[in-house]
Amino acid sequence: MTDAPLILGIESSCDETAAALLRGRTIVAQRIASQDDAHRIYGGVVPEIAARAHVEALAPMIEAVLAEAGVGLAEVDAIAATAGPGLIGGVMVGLVTGKALALAADKPLVAVNHLEGHALSPRLVDPDLEFPYLLLLVSGGHCQLLEVQGVGRYRRLATTIDDAVGEAFDKVAKIMGLGFPGGPAVERCAKDGNPKAFKLPRPLSGTDEPHFSFAGLKTAVLRTFQANPHAAADIAASFQAAVIDCLTDRTLKALAAAPDVTALVVAGGVASNAAIRAALTGLADARALKFVAPPGWLCTDNAAMIAWAGAERLAAGLTDGLDAPARPRWPLDPEAAPARGAGVKA
């Protein structure tokens, strides 16, 4: 393992500033600074506040990670920085930092697609996970089903035509005043509720269209909460149950379209939801598929997954020029047919 390259990973595409040093599958050192506190009063991430915090925090954090590992930049074999998709001001901070380090230390740069970081992260914790696998990517900005065929090779089977699933959790939390970030708050609230208390819609479930939709569900939650302002726990539980039904229905449909996959993998911030994990575990077991869900810390934004994607790309000979663009949008499967209304979340 000491022969595996040492990769410095940098992540700054949303509201976490993160840096990590990875050798093989060993995280030598890593730091994550969440900006939740700075954004809480606004009820969501403010891009300019996020970008200001990234430029403040990133360089000292990289220095701390190198110091903790007891290595200098000269011993690093490659620099992997998120180049998108995400909030462009923050992406630029991390990418430019990575480029300057790469030039100064004369190391290769890997400009990593943040989504590829999520998509490959299960292989960081599970050495036996082979391509191809079906990935359910569920985060604040994305809700997709992808056949992961290899490094840099993705076939998108479904995406959301309106809200991402994490976004739906966040909006529901906002509607019921549960706090920010919304996902964990809704999950906590749902623990004491009855998932059958309210009949909520399962948009697109059972239809031929393979995609996700959560806008109608969110609106239904709003109406239900207005009519039953003291039933937050039951509403949260019913909402979570509806989300789970949507996710499993769409996952089954994707599995039918990708018969070669041997594993079901869930990644992204929403994958830290225990009820969602349990439902997907059951689904995979019933079909004799391997099920992999990276640990919670690896599901939310972090730099170890960026370093890992960098290591995988480096091994495949995929490095980038110092003029690599910062990309606010960057689909994993650029060839995928546009989904109606999908826009940014395609």
């Binding site: 506040i49 430019v96 930092t97 380090l101 110092l322």
Partner: protein, 204 residues
Amino acid sequence: MELAIETALHACSAALIDGGQIVAERHEIIARGHAERLVPLIGELLAEAGVSRADAVTVDVGPGSFTGIRVGLAAAKAFGLAWGAPVAGCTSTELVAAAVLAARADLDGVYVAFDASRGEVYAQRFDRAGAAGDLAALPPEQAAVAARGWTVAGSGTALLSAVDASLAVVDHRWPRAADVRLLGARRPAARPLYVRPPDAKVPA
């Protein structure tokens, strides 16, 4: 050897400076794409000068576009980290003031104004001794009054002239990294100078 970086406004500008002399320089007016162009451009400078590092870094910390300020700062801090070099800051206004006053021995001072969009300019007055006024974001009408009796420079010149056609002006629109050589040796640590707070409203 000092590396100077300026990306706060329309220029993507960098220079290697040694003993007050420009060793290598790039100054490209690109308006956008600093995050893509800056580091390759610095690579060209290092290659041209035949060096692999600088001993100090100075970066323009603003005022200017928030994104441009951060691109320069992120690069400067990373070079500082990699080379173990101190990272100092200078301002867009002082770079233009130093250049104009160096070129025009007849002037006692200069009023520097940049288009700050949203109907304002970033403006500051300098005399030969240094900054003579506070840096502020102002409506051009107010800046034009403050500029009376001074010569105006910077990308906001036209906005001020539109208000008061009698103002004396020099055509020097953008700060230039190489002009760091004209600044005094004592420089503050690099901290962003955004002037304006972030756009964010606390929901009612």
